[in-house]
Amino acid sequence: MDALINKRIKQVLKGDKDAFAEIVDLYQHRLFQVCFRMLGNRHEAEDIAQEAFVRAFINIHTFDQKRKFSTWLYRIATNLCIDRIRKKKPDYYLDAEVKGTEGLDMYSQIAAADELPEEEIMKLELQDRIQYEISRLPDKYRSAIVLKYMEELSLQEISEILELPLGTVKTRIHRGREALRKQLSRQPNFL
């Protein structure tokens, strides 16, 4: 697999654009899945995953062929997803108090906006429910959890993709699991 990929990369470097199509075919589902789980929207996920491939094509000469190509590709995609998530976030301080309300800050506003009422949650199909709970995780934990449990990558690989020390990745996965536990324990019969 790696030998084949490196062969295709060499062809792309020599100017053979069509060799890149094969690279896209091999990784499209994995990359699209990460983007979809991170962004929770098929349309946006398609846009960002395609953008990730375009960036990979443009910067392919910076890829070190001694390393794993998928790690490099995942890194481009997760960085683009995190950028997109941050851009969508409003530009004000979350703990600033909202005018005209007493003791209400932006956290409570957002929680109220994001959280579905319990009867709505109960109506969700399992797959929608999973996506809903993932999307409520803070993006730091979300990327680690998605890479670990949906892409089934090793902790070492996740640490290389996110460019974080192994210990930090572990902490994020632990906190992500705890956050999900708290989210789910509010609806005891979720399974």
């Binding site: 199509a21 896209v24 499209q28 398609e46 491939f53 094509f57 449990y149 699991r177 979720f190 399974l191």
Partner: protein, 209 residues
């Protein structure tokens, strides 16, 4: 549950990561047997993992890769050149070296545009023409650059004319070789030959010693 040591929850996560040591696992197991709250916590965490792992595989839309290929930037005409330069750093360095060398050569060639000639006795100069008058004998080599030479008399040596022409009267006598140089490569060749001659004569001298 407040009474439980914090490390127990940490061990639970180590267990879920599949990275728990033998001692930690034993401690966790014996604690879970005696603590209902921690047992529930452990169950919930395992359920979380099962829940997240239950996510179906998502596939990219059918025309995904065609769209990517269409989005790739069109290659600019100089992209091939810059890629070639990137892939062949030594050849690039060599090409640059030759470029600078040849530009130095051309500028040298052009700089030497002034009229000059070898100072010899009995030589007359009119404008940019060197004349050996009739009946005169010049001993030694004569080099004229960017000017003409007219020989009415006798030259006992080699004549070299660079970027100019020679006129010879019927009375003219040149005992050595005559050379006319008008092109860059002739000029270069001349320098190389001169250099080689010097080397040879240097060795000749060494031998005669």
């Amino acid at each position: 549950m407040n009474a439980c040591p914090e490390r127990i929850v940490h061990y639970m996560h180590e267990y879920l990561d599949g990275e728990i040591s033998r001692e930690h696992e034993l401690e966790l197991k014996s604690h879970l047997q005696s603590c209902v709250d921690c047992q529930a916590h452990m169950h919930e965490l395992s359920d979380v993992v099962a829940f997240v792992k239950g996510a179906a595989h998502v596939e990219a839309p059918t025309n995904f890769s065609q769209t990517v290929m269409a989005r790739l930037p069109k290659e600019k005409s100089h992209a091939g050149v810059s890629r070639w330069l990137r892939r062949h750093p030594i050849l690039t360095a060599a090409a640059l070296f030759f470029l600078f060398m040849s530009s130095a050569l051309f500028s040298n060639f052009n700089e030497e545009q002034q009229f000059s000639f070898t100072k010899q006795e009995n030589v007359v100069v009119e404008g940019e023409t060197v004349i050996i008058p009739e009946g005169q004998v010049v001993k030694g080599n004569l080099v004229v650059q960017n000017g003409d030479v007219r020989i009415d008399g006798e030259l006992d040596g080699n004549l070299t004319v660079i970027n100019g022409s020679k006129y010879m009267a019927s009375t003219a006598v040149i005992t050595g070789k005559t050379e006319e140089i008008n092109e860059v490569f002739d000029w270069l060749w001349f320098h190389i030959k001169e250099g080689a001659k010097e080397v040879v004569s240097f060795f000749d001298k060494e031998e005669t010693k």
